[in-house]
Symmetry: C2
Subunit: 520 residues, 2 copies
């Protein structure tokens, strides 16, 4: 959703002084655009709080009321976003000569508003209400391991999403119009062949791992221990703070599915949880903390402007995957962290064995519990299903069967029930079709960013070994976070890494890491 | 603020059938009024969540952003409340013949809207922003025990409140226009002499207590023990649930100052905290749970109507004071609760001694930690200051001095610093002038209600002794909660107790209870 965007008053004032007659109209328009965008941001913050509370602290029976509250607030927001006067001011400014940041702000607004204005108010209200109720149905369905409870809600959502794609009407595959909301400029035509190739290479890599001697004898050492839930949460909170989530601007709470949310520039919150896997809480917290650090390190000067944003969710995800994988699953990190981890939970094994177990490869059924190698296969499975659903090639009723077939084909395993199959993710209940691919994109970007970082920060692995994250925080802040939404994802990655999206860097990274661990 | 009010569709539909031509216009108006009032309720719920979060979980540095979020949302709300079309529909309906509940709804709306419409949008926005910032200043001032930090904010608020009183313009004392927002129909002219008399009688009663033998030798037995904060909170949560706050529709969290808030008909939350006094958490939780039970037991059929409300905050307070005093400080309750209390905290004293200590009379400086006898004196002190402030007879700068002088006069003690003096309450930082008197009114009403309940529920004290609260819950639900805002406070109390506000019942109740405890 378009939030927090407004032209940069300061730089405009400077320009205005240079040419006071010519810019009389733009100044008035700019002030108006600024005012509206501030209102939109603030109301979005309020709406975000309704969502945060629903997932974290709201009493169960309040969900119907909460759905109605969200519906009305989102309706007001949509009305503001699609207001004619606002759009006209943006269009008028788009024809004026403005300083760089302002010009980019107006360019983004013109594009985003143009898209948003295609969706009628009633449609937004229906979508908001439907997804709010669907979220509760999904929770119940997952709890009871029964897809049928979620089915009618998901059917309604898929129909609404097809309708939305029609309203947006981008070129190419119908799905492009949904994907674009999360990954600006990306298309099925570009992504499908890249994912197809990645899929083949990942399956090849997995075969090599599975054929290794080490794989055949590997054991989960964590099974022998008990990991106190409270301790896991406390340690996760400590790591979050170390990554940069200071308590006066952030929080860590518990929710079913971990997430990050910005409720203000000085209020960025994450959630975590515990699962059977004792690493889940730690690594998912590092993941969400990576998202949150991005939000926290965006510059104050972009506040209430379209630049206070990410180029794409893929870029956002690159920040979370960076901290989860390149730090949290990296050897130097476990040189630093093993001691505390062992002593808190009473583990007897050596650091080396713990590191191997952290990177234990296993064809699991749950995406968010996945190892690094299988992860993108989970995403590709969802991507393939989503494009077929939106194209009308498959029906919602068939989903559990299709899901399980694909799991068999890609992973060689079959979910025992829908809770560990088609019902495992929250995204569809929220209407987020087109979101999943950004997880794979982020994972690939993260590997490219890490390769570049290693070239630019001397002895980075030694820093991680000491638990010093400051240089990485600063580097990411300078190179990525401080850029906001000034560039498209592809251009930003080119600027930072010298080349655009390159899955080969990712495959190389994985092959090097896991050939060392599994010895092939 | 006017929230949650809309005409009752069902009863109207019935009437409409009986007379389909005559009511054609009212039906359209009624539907419109219903729609607007639903929107107002839902947006008020969202605004309430912003407030709840600010006091319970929000990171410290987010307060500036939160103030801006609250300001814009409250601005939208005020615009909806004061919308001409809405008011016209209400005025038009007020001339139609409607079924009882609908007629009362429209009568309330006409009155409340008439008042609300007198306040300009800009005034509401300024008040909202001012109080949001003042809340943070008050917190800091109290922490640093320095009134000067709060002074400029409070000055601004008092000026705004004088302005507000002028806008409202009720007859008599300027303060009446503020008091009426909390206690409809009540005036300085009526209250001042009653409080004056009550003050004299309370001081007389306190003298009797202080002259008793028992008072001279009384000791605080709780000083000899350590009361785990965690255990206090757990026990408070248990009591809240016993009073009727089921977890699927309610929550208990921790905040600086305990409060109750309704975020929806199935989402009523309270907060608690611990203080040096080990009874604070328990009794303040019972207090807030009493408020919450009222909200929970209002009938679903009143949802989104003006009837889903209390006649006055005095009546609301009667419910909280009932559970705090008539249950929580009552002998039968300690017959039931002493055993658990003693075992959880390892107390050695007898039940009788614990009950005496619960009702230990002491001229404390903090209102919310006050015993039953001193409590109304705290309120009267604030009432006297408020009316003089609003009348312009005293200045904000003089407040600490005036406060301390009055404390000396009424209690015979002087606060060590402003934190235990003029800075102790949150109310003024939120602009709530006229709120305090309702605490005393509620305290008096509670004693009247208890006397009546004893007549109507056989062996009520035995029920309390067994920890059975169901009969009381049901009785309060039937007599008070289910009535919503159908009657004015005075009329409701007459209906329930056979007579209106009568401070003599309260003085009698206190005299009987404390003459038994102190033996005079």
């Amino acid at each position: 959703m378009v939030v927090g965007k407004v032209a940069n008053e300061k730089s405009f004032a400077k320009l205005f002084k240079q040419n006071s007659i010519k810019f009389l109209m733009p100044k008035k328009d700019l002030e108006f655009v600024k005012k509206v965008q501030k209102e939109i941001t603030l109301l979005s913050n309020a709406s975000a709080l309704l969502g945060w509370d629903q997932q974290v602290y709201m009493p169960k029976k309040a969900s119907q009321d909460r759905a109605e509250q969200a519906t009305i607030l989102d309706g007001i927001l949509h009305k503001k976003i699609t207001d004619d006067k606002f759009y006209k001011a943006v269009l008028s400014l788009s024809k004026s000569k403005l300083p760089n940041d302002d010009a980019r702000t107006i360019e983004i607004l013109k594009r985003d508003l143009g898209k948003a204005r295609k969706l009628p108010n009633e449609f937004i209200e229906e979508l908001s209400k439907t997804t709010s109720q669907a979220f509760d149905a999904w929770q119940e369905a997952r709890e009871r391991k029964d897809f049928k409870i979620f089915l009618p809600h998901l059917k309604k959502i898929v129909e609404l999403k097809k309708k939305q794609a029609k309203y947006i009407g981008l070129a190419g595959h119908t799905y492009n119009s949904l994907l674009d909301s999360f990954e600006e400029g990306m298309t099925v035509e570009e992504l499908k062949p890249k994912f197809e190739k990645l899929k083949i290479e990942l399956i090849e890599l997995i075969k090599k791992i599975e054929n290794s001697e080490k794989y055949k004898t590997q054991k989960n050492i964590f099974e022998n221990y008990t990991f106190s839930n409270d301790k896991q949460i406390i340690m996760s909170k400590e790591i979050a703070e170390k990554i940069g989530l200071k308590k006066d601007i952030s929080r860590v709470d518990i929710s079913t599915h971990p997430f990050t949310i910005r409720l203000g520039t000085k209020d960025v919150r994450i959630t975590t949880n515990v699962r059977t896997d004792p690493l889940f809480s730690l690594l998912s917290t590092m993941h969400e903390a990576g998202h949150a650090l991005y939000e926290i390190q965006m510059p104050e000067k972009f506040k209430y402007t379209a630049l206070m944003d990410t180029p794409s969710l893929g870029i956002h995800e690159s920040q979370s995957r960076f901290w989860e994988n390149m730090v949290g699953r990296n050897k130097p990190f476990w040189k630093y962290y093993s001691k505390q981890f062992k002593s808190e939970f009473g583990l007897k094994e050596k650091e080396e064995e713990i590191f191997s177990s952290v990177n234990h490869i296993f064809p699991g059924k749950i995406r968010i519990e996945s190892d690094e190698v299988h992860y993108c296969l989970h995403v590709i499975l969802r991507f393939e299903i989503e494009i077929d659903l939106i194209a009308g090639k498959i029906s919602v009723e068939e989903l559990p069967k299709i899901w399980n077939n694909k799991m068999k084909e890609l992973f060689g395993v079959t979910p025992k029930n829908d809770a560990e199959g088609v019902l495992q993710d929250v995204h569809w209940s929220g209407g987020s079709f087109g979101y999943f691919p950004t997880y794979a994109l982020g994972t690939i970007y993260a590997s490219q960013i890490y390769e570049q970082m290693k070239k630019e920060i001397p002895k980075i692995e030694e820093e991680i070994e000491k638990g010093n994250f400051e240089k990485m925080q600063k580097w990411l802040g300078e190179k990525i976070h401080s850029q906001g939404r000034k560039y498209l994802a592809e251009d930003l990655i080119k600027k930072v890494c010298g080349e655009g999206l390159n899955p080969e860097v990712y495959i190389k990274y994985l092959t090097k890491k896991f050939s060392e661990i599994y010895g092939f």
